[in-house]
Every structure is written in structure tokens, then in C-alpha cells.
Amino acid sequence: MASQLVWLIFLLPFLSFAVISLVVRPFLNGSARLSGYIAIAAIGGSLALSLLVLQEVIRAPGHELLIPRVTWVVIGTTELDLGLLVDSLTAVMLVVVSGVSLLVQIYSQGYMHGDAGYSRYFAFMSLFTGSMLGLVMADNLLQLFVFWEGVGLCSYLLIGFWFHRPSAANAAKKAFIVTRAGDFGLLVAILALYASSQAGTLNIKELHLLAETGALGGTFLTWAAIGIFAGAAGKSAQFPLHTWLPDAMEGPTPVSSLIHAATMVAAGVFLVARMFPLFEHSSQALATVAVIGAFTAIFAATMGLVAPDIKRVIAYSTISQLGYMMLGLGMGSVAAGIFHLFNHAFFKCLLFLGAGSVNHATGTFDMRQMGGLRRRMPWTFFTFVIASLSLAGIWPLSGFWSKDEILAVAFQGNFILFLLALATVFMTAFYSFRVIFLTFAGSYRGGASAGAGHGSQGDGHGAPSLHESPAVMVVPMVALSVMAIISGWFNLGGEFSGFLGEKAHPLGFFGALANPLALLSLGVAVAGIVAAYGVYGARWVSAEGLGRAFAPLYNVFIHKYWLDELYETVFVRWFLYTFIFGLMELFDTYIVDGLVNGAASLALGGGRALRRLQTGQLQAYGMAIFLGVLALGLIMVLIR
């Protein structure tokens, strides 16, 4: 396959962005649908090429394709190049990103139908996908960072897609700034790696080699790896930089599904996997990743238990699942982490599309206004249940397999982290089925008041008429639900792990049911589902009663541990803005500028004072001259 075709994988969506924003929108805005077709065609092309690349990479020796490089900037001996690194990790990511994005964009045609920003939406979606595809193919850290920021930009543009809503504009800004705080670490790590590697390289393969040969090592390597992880934690919404993701719900729901499944948040996990040799050679860095991952997993799950908004529950589940992936990576297994990313992409995308479909019908995301949708929206219900079972980790759906691998590596690595992960399994199953029972079971609790009252909360889908979504939305959901069932089977014989260069200990399709660890996690998950049924389905105990019984915990969870308040009010508003920056402003006005104006006043005042000497009276001048001569004469006499 010609190397130009590989470049096309990410250039096609960029081209689509350019055509839509420079041609279709200014000149052909009457035919907005065209934008959707262009974007879908471009992503379809990318997917086809990605599949070809995957096939070639599987065949290639060492699972890597060599692509010629292009020079970007040369200054003296410093040369910055552009190049593509296409190995097994890249190939997997390419297929996931372009595949999920294609389905999301097809779905979006129905979902965004009639929106004033239809063309703009597809332009941004193309740019988003193109940036993510470019990110996973980058062969050096500068290029990776360029696309990394590109992904950040697109999430900013898409979260704030309905920019006239103050909440959306706020959420977009928050996402960009919080992730940029993490990017600070990444950027410094990139600079440090460049400055410290003898040859001055940002090439990822060369950096791997430097870490493996020990040329990079010790405390320096640890800090560089932690800097990289800071960037990853920002993008992948790991504690303490997770706060932007729940707010990112303000974007259109298909955007959420793309962000949560394949683009944005996957970038952080991918980055750690991509730079894994650097982590591998620093036990502290690896431990940091594992601990943050495990903590984030359970931490986010607790908030998912109580959130009343369907999208927020799914968002917390994403943060939690990303924590699992980081845990897998931190325990030393790239394959476990990436395999979970792979499976998660499909069922998480599906969950969001399902939530979008529900909103399409009800006009709200508040589960307290739903209920009984099972009969009205059978396809949505059916696919949603599959996705939830997969997320909860029920055999033989995809989530079961990859979650089990992570639990297995955690079990071998650190028992405390394993227990955290196991507890999270229970919570995951519980909140997933809480959503199902609240949304689809029982009877409809929304109704007449829903239409107007929630217009601002929903995605602009006004009067609810409780219908199944159109085929253009349902078909992608069905396709994803097939993947949510079978995608876990790619590693039944350890094929997926082997492709990523790791030896796996496959359990086998039925063998898993005989494995004690797998049985334990399965049992815990089932317990979670039963508990959810008990509270929200059969109502053996009332949810309100539980909330009252555990009021302190409930308050902590529902207020998101007050971290938003801590960051935004205490740290940013009070400490930074009012105190530090305020002092600086006072300093600027009264000290720095005060001195300048003071100097001017001094000159003016001095001038006024001196002016009094210029009386214009000849007698006075004569007197002064006389005195001066006298003084000079005296001095001369004295010096002699």
C-alpha cells in the first residue's frame, strides 16, 4: 500500500472540514445535508484505509509499517520532522476511531436534523476525527502534541456547540482549560525529553530506545513520565483533572458519544500506551498510573450512583472505566488497557447514542422525567440493555473479557488496588441498571410539563411524542450493539494481546466460567444488577430511604465531593483571581505605574519650584552673579 494513502487516513477528514467550512457553508448553505454526506464519505474513506492498514500491519514483520518522513522546520542542527508511526497500537486505534466516528456521524444525520448549525457540526466532527487519527499516527511528540491540542480544540468547539447557552459556553471553556492544565505537564515533559536526549530527538521510537537502553533513567525519567501522565490525566479525565467531563454533557449527545468512546478521552490512555517504555522503566511512574487509575475508577463510580441525569451517569461511568484502563496500564499490561479501550469504545458509544435517542423522544435527560420507555422504544431499549450488560461485565459480552483481564493483572500486582477495582464492578453494575430501571421500566413520569420545561436542558428536541428514533439513528445503534457483544472475543485465544506484543493467558469462551477470579467478578456484577433491581425495579427498599439512611455519603456524592466548588470558587476565584491577581493589579496600578506618574509629578513639581528662581528682576540676577563670583574667588584663594 502506498504511503501516501496512509497519510490520507487523517487528511481526508481534514479535507472534509476544509470543504465544508470554506465551500459548503459560505456558498451552499442552502444544502446543508451535503455537509453530512461529505463528512461521512471522508470518514468512510478513512475507515476503509484503516482496515487496509490493519491488514498490512498484521502481515508486516514486527507489526510495523515504515513511512517516509517530511521536514517541518530546520534551525541549525535542530530538525523537526513530520512522520507516521504505524504499528499494531496505531492500527487498532485507527480502526476504533474511524469506525466509531463513522457510526456516530451517520446517527448524527438524524439527531441533528434541522439544527441551524448542521454544516458547522459536521465540519467540526470531521476536524475532531481527523485530529484524533493524526494523533494516533504521530511518530514524534511534537506532532502528537499538535494533534493533541487539535483534539482539545474540537472538543471545545463541540462542547460549546450551542454557544448561545451560557452553560455550554462555560463547559467548553472548562474542558479546554482543565485539560490544558494537564497539557502543561505534557509540554514540559516533551521539552525536557528533547533537551536531555543526547541527539535531541522527539521521535517516539528513539525515545523508547533511549529508555530501554537506560540512556534516559532515574528520577529524570520518572518526572518525564509523570509529566506525560499529567497530560493523559487531563484528556482522559483522571482524578484530579476529571471535573470537565461531566460538564461536557452540554454538547450534542453524539458529540458526547464520540468524546467518550473514541476521540478525546481515549487519547490519554493511548498516550500512556504509546510512551509505555518510558513508564515501564520507572516503577514510581507506573505505580502513579496504577494508583490514580484505581482511585479514579471507584471515585467516579460513587458519583455515578446518585446522578439524576442519564448522560451524567454514563459520563461518570466513562471516567471510572478510563480508570480501569489506566489501572491495567499501570499494572504493566498495555494489552489489557488497550483491549478495554477497544471494547469500551463500542458499548460506551452505544450508551450515549441510546441516551440521545431517549432524549430525541422525551426532550429531557432527567431520569426522574422518564420511565416506561421500553414499549415505546424497543430498539433503543434492547441495544441499551446490551451495552449496559457489557459495561457491567456480564459473560460473554465484550466488557466481561477486558475487565476480567484488568482484574487479573491487578490481582497479581496489588491486592488493595484489586479490591478497589472489584468494588467498582459492583457499583458499575448497580448504576448501569439503575439507569435501565429508571428509564425504561415502570411507567412514564414525564408528560405535559416536559415539553416546554426542558427545552433548555435537552438538545433542542421540543415536544415529546414518545416514538422510536428513525432508522438512520437505530441502524448505527444496532451495529454497535453487535460489536458490544462480540468485540471481546478477539482475545479469546490471546490474539489481540499477541498483536500488541504481549503473551496472554486466555481462558477460553467457556473456560472463563471455570476461572475463580472471573466467576468472582461475574458474581459481584450480578449482585450489583440484583441490587439495582431491588431498589429501582421491585422497590424492596425505596431509593429515597437509602438516600436518607446514608445522607452524609449521599451528599458527598451528589455534590461531586465539592471539587468543582474547590477548584472554581476557592482556588480560581478567591485565591487566584481575587487574591493573587488582584494584588498584582494593585501593584501594577499603584506601584509600577505610580512610580512612573510619580516621576512625572516630581519633574513637574521640580520645574515649578525652579521657576520661582526665574523672577525676571535684573537686580536679583546681578546679586546672584556677584555672589557667585565672590564664592569662586574665595575657593581659588583657599585652594592656593
Binding site: V74, G76, T78, I177, Y194, V592
Partner: protein
């Protein structure tokens, strides 16, 4: 004798000013078209100059040297290298666009454009002069038009701001003039290229009057005020706030760069040893400027003041790149000067448009404009994103090179820590830029702006042109860095790292 292209470039705007002055009772249209014609031809000439510049030669090119005051060894001496070429090109672009941006000036039109053209001549002269006396003359020439433009066509406390600007700059110039005289009396030279080759900081002066470090700082004072560095920056927000739009564009776009250019051309070239000795101090000031400027920006509520303070922060990157003293950092600093010129020029143009339409600059009173003025909103956003260093825009390429060059610099141990602190500035920049964009453009549309209009055709030309330039340089910075590094390499060579 070859065609004296540099002389032509410098004096063509002045010729335009003379023509404008001599036109008998011209209508405003004629005045505008005349100004546009002269600045456009100047722009084309700077493009031609860029085209015909030999991109393999690291020396002065197109040198024109005519004895002027022979008894004092003063020459009319022009020349261009990679550094000055970039700045001249920037002036050529902004000079023409400034005329377009000023198209709707209605007050004393002829005078306005005369001053604007003279301003362009002064700036071009500064960048092309190789003789210190000539350099100083052009440096001073630029003050008069600025004073007039701010105090007559400005808004608010315009006389105060204009006076402050002129007095502040003059104070700096006085130090520089003393420095130039000391240089002359201790070497007998006004020629920058000869002075640079004398290696004064290693070999010492032929006749020492003052220590090299003292002369270094005499010259530095003028550039420090101009750039401006912390804490000599307070003239800038005032001048910007009260200047008319096009003058803000020129001021932020190119006048500030005279400071950075002077530091490279005189301070580092002539006194590399002193530059090395004082690099830690100056890098520290640079980092303070970056963070301090960004912090104070966040506290402003006037759009122009915000962008003015953001310039203080961005010029901190320039200072950092210059005194990190590595080839990459110096190239990055120069690219940052170009990029900041285009980006901040565009930002001021956008603020000008918003102000024209709404008569407001207070971010708490503006809001939701993207519905009423979609084109302005898009371009304003792109400018803001470029300013916060988004990849794909010139801002990223420049900042990244500054950081990379500073991080690998051997100027002094520990510079990595300073650079890392400087990188922290990009988070703050993202903070204030997105905050500003949100306040002005997003959120609920306000009914009081329902009658406003989006940018018309004439207004679109300059802002589209600048946007295209930002993205072009961002995607392929080598188009400029190849030229810049030619100018930087000889300077770095003298540093002897």
C-alpha cells in the same frame, strides 16, 4: 549601481506623505486611495525583497552605503538580513492593512494618513539602518506621528496617553543616545556590522570610557521600554486603549518589535559576553513578565487593555527567547515577534470592529455577539486561539520554538526551570483568552445589539488576510524560520557556546 530597493522601500511611504501634503484640496476618497496605493506598492516591494533575498547567505544583503557626514564617519547605510527582512515584511503587510482598517476615519483625513505614512517610514528605517546615527534618527522619527495619531484621533484620555508614550520612549532614547555616543567615542564607529565584528566584550574597547556592561544597559534601556519588559510596561495599556484602531494595530504589530530587534541587533551582536553574563537576570524578568502580564490581563475589563496586557505577557516570551541565547530560541523569539504582530494586530482590528458596531469595549457589557456578527465572531475566535498558541497557528510554532530553544539552552544552569515557569503562561493565556471570547461572543444574544451589522466587504479584506497569514505560517513555519535562522546564526556564532 543596482536598483536601491531598500532606500525605495524606506522612503516610498514618505513620498506618499509628501504627495498627500501637496495635493490641492483632495477629497477624502482620493486621500485614502493615494495612501493605499503607496502602502500597497511598499508592500509589494517588501514581498519582492523577500523573494529575491538569497536564502543561503547569512550576511547583510542589498547593502547601500553612501557617506553622509564623512568627518564623523557617519554613513547612510542600509542593509537587510534574515532578522530585519522578517520585520520589514511584517511592516509591509501591516502598513497596507492599516490603511484599509483606517478607511472609515472621517476626521482630518489627509493629516491622518500623512502621519500614518510617516510612521511607516520611521519603522522601516529602524529595521533597515546599519548606521547607529541613522538608526537613532529613524527611532526618533516614529515618535512624532505616534503622538499626533493618538492625541488627535484617539479616544478617552488620549492626550495623557500620548504624552506618556512619548516621554517614556524619549527617556529610553536618551539612554540609548548616550550609549551610542560612548560607543562612538570609544571605537570611532557607528557601523553596526563593524562594531559587531570587533568583539568588544572579549577584546575590550580601544579607548574605554565606560565598562561594556554599562554601554550594554544604556542601549538596552531604550529597547526595554519599547518591547516593553516588566516593569517598564505601563505606557502600553494606556497608549493602546486610547489609540485609534489602526494605530493600535501598528503599535502592537510592529512598534514593540523594534525593542526585540534592537536587543538582538545591538545588545547581543555587539556585546555577546555581557549578554551571557546578564542572561539569568533578563530571563528571570522575562518569566515574570509572562506570568505577571497574564495575571493582570485577567483582571481587566476593557478589551483593549486586556490585549495590551496580553502583549506584555507575549513579549515576555520574546525576551525569554532572546536571552536564552540559543539558535532555536532566538529564531523562535523572532518568529514570535512576527506572529504576535499578525495575531495581535488582528485582535486589535477585531476589537476595533466590535467597538465600531457596539461602541463598547467593556467585556461585562458585551456578550452573545456571535449571533449578530458571525464573521466577526469566527475571526475573533481564530485570533484568540492563535494568541493562546493553538497548533496550526503561527502562535504555536513560535512559542514552541522559544520553549524548545530555551530548554536546551546552555546560557546558564537552571534555565529549564525558568522555561517551565514560562510554559505555565500558556495555561493562563488559555484562561484569559477563552474567558474574553466567551464574555464577548458567546452566551445569550443581547437585544441591544440586534441592529448591529457584521463586517462588511472592506472590513473583511484585512481580517481575512491576517487570518490566512496566521494559519499559513502556523502550518509551514519554515517559510519564515529558514530566513530568520540565517539572520540568527551569525549572532549565535559570536556567543561562542
Amino acid at each position: 549601481m543596482p536598483f536601491p530597493i531598500l532606500t525605495t522601500i524606506v522612503f516610498l511611504p514618505a513620498l506618499g506623505a509628501v504627495v498627500l501634503a501637496l495635493l490641492p484640496r483632495p477629497g477624502d476618497r482620493l486621500v485614502r486611495y493615494t495612501a493605499a496605493t503607496f502602502t500597497f506598492i511598499t508592500f509589494i516591494l517588501t514581498l519582492l525583497l523577500f523573494q529575491s533575498f538569497d536564502q543561503k547567505l547569512g550576511t547583510m544583503q542589498f547593502r547601500e552605503r553612501v557617506p553622509w557626514i564623512s568627518s564623523l564617519n557617519i554613513n547612510f547605510d542600509l542593509g537587510v538580513d534574515g532578522l530585519s527582512l522578517t520585520m520589514v515584511l511584517l511592516m509591509g503587510i501591516l502598513g497596507f492593512l492599516a490603511v484599509l482598517i483606517s478607511w472609515k476615519v472621517e476626521k482630518r483625513v489627509r493629516e491622518y494618513f500623512i502621519w500614518l505614512l510617516l510612521l511607516e517610514m520611521g519603522v522601516l528605517g529602524v529595521f533597515l539602518s546599519l548606521d547607529l546615527v541613522l538608526f537613532f534618527l529613524f527611532w526618533e522619527v516614529e515618535l512624532m506621528p505616534m503622538y499626533m495619531l493618538i492625541s488627535i484621533w484617539g479616544t478617552g484620555r488620549k492626550e495623557y496617553s500620548a504624552t506618556k508614550f512619548v516621554l517614556y520612549t524619549l527617556t529610553g532614547s536618551a539612554f540609548m543616545f548616550a550609549g551610542i555616543l560612548v560607543l562612538y567615542f570609544s571605537t570611532g564607529q557607528f557601523d553596526m556590522t563593524v562594531l559587531s565584528a570587533m568583539r568588544l566584550s572579549e577584546n575590550g574597547f580601544p579607548r574605554e570610557i565606560l565598562p561594556a556592561a554599562a554601554v550594554f544597559f544604556l542601549l538596552f534601556a531604550a529597547f526595554a521600554v519599547k518591547l516593553p519588559i516588566f516593569p517598564l510596561h505601563t505606557w502600553l495599556p494606556d497608549a493602546h486603549t486610547d489609540a485609534p484602531t489602526a494605530v493600535s494595530v501598528i503599535l502592537a504589530g510592529i512598534l514593540l518589535k523594534m525593542g526585540g530587534y534592537g536587543m538582538m541587533r545591538l545588545n547581543i551582536s555587539i556585546f555577546p559576553g555581557v549578554a551571557r553574563d546578564y542572561a539569568p537576570l533578563l530571563v528571570l524578568i522575562a518569566v515574570i513578565g509572562v506570568l505577571y502580564g497574564a495575571a493582570v490581563t485577567l483582571r481587566q475589563r476593557d478589551l483593549k487593555r486586556m490585549i495590551a496586557y496580553s502583549s506584555v505577557s507575549h513579549m515576555g516570551y520574546v525576551l525569554l527567547g532572546i536571552f536564552a541565547l540559543s539558535p532555536v530560541s532566538l529564531t523562535g523569539a523572532t518568529l514570535q515577534m512576527f506572529s504576535h504582530g499578525v495575531v495581535t494586530g488582528l485582535l486589535f482590528a477585531m476589537v476595533g470592529l466590535v467597538y465600531d458596531k457596539t461602541h463598547l469595549r467593556d467585556i461585562h457589557k458585551l456578550g452573545g455577539l456571535s449571533r449578530q456578527m458571525p464573521i466577526i465572531a469566527v475571526i475573533f475566535s481564530i485570533a484568540g486561539l492563535a494568541s493562546l498558541g493553538l497548533p496550526g497557528t503561527s502562535g504555536f510554532a513560535a512559542e514552541f520554538l522559544v520553549f524548545l530553544g530555551s530548554f536546551q539552552s546552555q546560557a546558564f544552569p537552571g534555565i529549564q526551570l525558568y522555561t517551565a515557569l514560562g510554559v505555565l503562561g500558556v495555561v493562563l493565556t488559555a484562561g484569559y483568552m477563552l474567558y474574553m471570547l466567551q464574555k464577548v461572543l458567546y452566551g445569550e444574544p443581547k437585544p441591544e445589539f440586534d441592529d448591529t451589522r457584521d463586517a462588511d466587504f472592506l472590513e473583511r479584506v484585512p481580517i481575512f488576510a491576517l487570518t490566512a497569514l496566521i494559519i499559513a505560517v502556523g502550518l509551514y513555519p519554515a517559510s519564515l524560520t529558514n530566513v530568520i535562522s540565517l539572520g540568527v546564526m551569525p549572532i549565535v556564532g559570536r556567543l561562542g557556546f
